[in-house]
Symmetry: C2
Subunit: 312 residues, 2 copies
């Protein structure tokens, strides 16, 4: 039996005070079975995004520790920042990675939500795959009005938390916990300074206004470089692969006489998302990811581990 | 410290008798630190190719066991097959994979060659990066005349083995041992039945007649499918990437009005070779293989291991 591996990307409402950021990150460092892949604090957003990969148990332990630090140090009554938020710990998504199903991650999220409330006193909303009400699948809906608005709206039965009393924690607000697919943050930079081109292409490509399913996108200006960017979230890369997004954007850009200058993957990405594109462009027939040496080695490492053994 | 990992692809002169094939493969099964990725017996070639990945020590132990079985069961005096060979164990290449240099693999090959002769009585020639004479870098040169011709030619000082007396083992011949880069076997199938198109393109693409460095290729007919194939060995995929080979073939085929139907990777391939092509076609800027979740996980697994620990 191979150990289940998840990704977890907790978002905290602190992007400015270095000592608080360190207190939030510290529980994830040097913890067996929990790998800290990335952490980025954004001062404008006043937000910290931590990317973890590992086994569920150690990740949950570390999350509780970090959440207690967040409750101790962050006060939403005084918190200001460019990113919408309802909690000191704002969002905790669990993402199935290897040897674990989405259904397992839903159970994991809901069980963790109960424990989280017990240990921190912060009420919990479940979102995406773990949502208990269909209207709570979308994070934006749960976060409507943000901390300030939700303080009063929370007594409305429609806005009542899924775990906890119908009132926010006075300083730490509420936390949104859930399960979702792996999200790829992907940017496409275009050779024009005309922001309208990026906006039109974003509209043509994203699911909300037609385009490709499971793709979100907006048009942005990269003023320093004289370029524009279509900034994308690919919410299900198995349903719409990177190559399809890139080639559709290339096609739409051609209509405006604009070239695709470069693309960027932000943060981490599963091997399958890139191998899939390699196979498409190289026209590989009968390709099996098991042909990739490193993936075979990783599988062997996993198989080597007995279920109870305390390794990653 | 991370454990060194090599690939090793021993070739044996037996592709027909199942019980002998099993005796040759068995030493590589269920051996800690030695992963049997693939083994393919070809009856026409009367040859067995085994693909291994793992740590040098267990691979060397298993090779000695398998070589003793080959010496016991294979008699080159009666062996017939379509593939050139000089030995019961014909070729053993060591390939650096992770945490080991080519220079280390050269030392490994030469040390192993000495031990191999001591334990089997089969003389050894060193080839490619481990060659002691420049003219022995090429396997074809060492194998000239095959077992039958080398039996008498071996007394010529120019053909004398690098390890052992100037005579072949009476039934097991000689073995070529060396170190080389990872070799990718790659086929490109073209939408024509005209074998001349495949031959012309092979000549245009391969290093020996111009074309791309580190690429070998021949044109073949796929009669059953009404297609032709450019069958390639990419000897150094870091110097000439898959995408460059594919796009050059596409360009040459266009000159004959022929389309590229599909490509095939035969056997295993390092992740870098495919990620490189994904990055090219997707126009990824600033991409780092550490962004790939599985590669990061594998690195963590390796870092977890203490140098003396008996794990892969």
């Amino acid at each position: 039996m191979s150990a289940p591996l998840i990704e977890c990307v907790p978002n905290f409402s602190e992007g400015r005070r270095p000592e608080v950021i360190e207190a939030l990150v510290a529980p994830f460092r040097n913890r067996r079975g929990c790998a800290l892949l990335d952490h980025r604090a954004d001062a404008d957003h006043n937000r910290l995004v931590i990317t973890l990969v590992g086994r569920p148990e150690p990740i949950k332990e570390a999350l509780i520790e970090a959440a207690k630090a967040a409750v101790a140090y962050i006060d939403l009554e005084t918190h200001r920042g460019g990113h919408p938020r309802i909690g000191a710990v704002d969002v905790i998504p669990f993402v199935p990675l290897r040897n674990i199903t989405m259904a397992d991650c839903v159970t994991l999220a809901r069980d963790f939500g109960e424990r989280y409330y017990q240990e921190t006193g912060v009420p919990v909303y479940f979102y995406e795959e773990a949502a208990l009400r269909p209207e709570r699948r979308q994070l934006e809906k749960i976060r409507q009005g943000q901390f300030e608005g939700l303080k009063t709206a929370v007594s409305d039965p429609a806005r009542r938390p899924d775990v906890g009393e119908p009132r926010l924690h006075p300083t730490a607000g509420a936390t949104v916990i859930g399960a979702r697919k792996f999200l790829i943050a992907f940017n496409v930079n275009l050779g024009t300074a005309d922001i309208e081109v990026a906006r039109k292409i974003a509209r043509a490509v994203r699911a909300s206004s037609g385009g490709l399913g499971h793709v979100k996108g907006i048009g942005l200006a990269l003023k320093d470089r004289g370029l524009v960017q279509v900034s994308l979230n690919i919410v299900d890369f198995e349903k719409n692969a990177l190559y399809r997004v890139v080639e559709l954007i290339r096609m739409e850009a051609r209509r405006w006489g604009v070239n695709l200058v470069e693309t960027e993957v932000y943060g981490v990405v599963p091997a399958a998302a890139l191998l899939d594109s390699a196979a498409y462009y190289l026209q590989l027939s009968g390709f099996d990811p098991k042909q990739v040496v490193e993936l075979r080695l990783l599988e062997m490492e996993e198989d080597r581990e007995s279920p109870g053994k305390e390794t990653l």
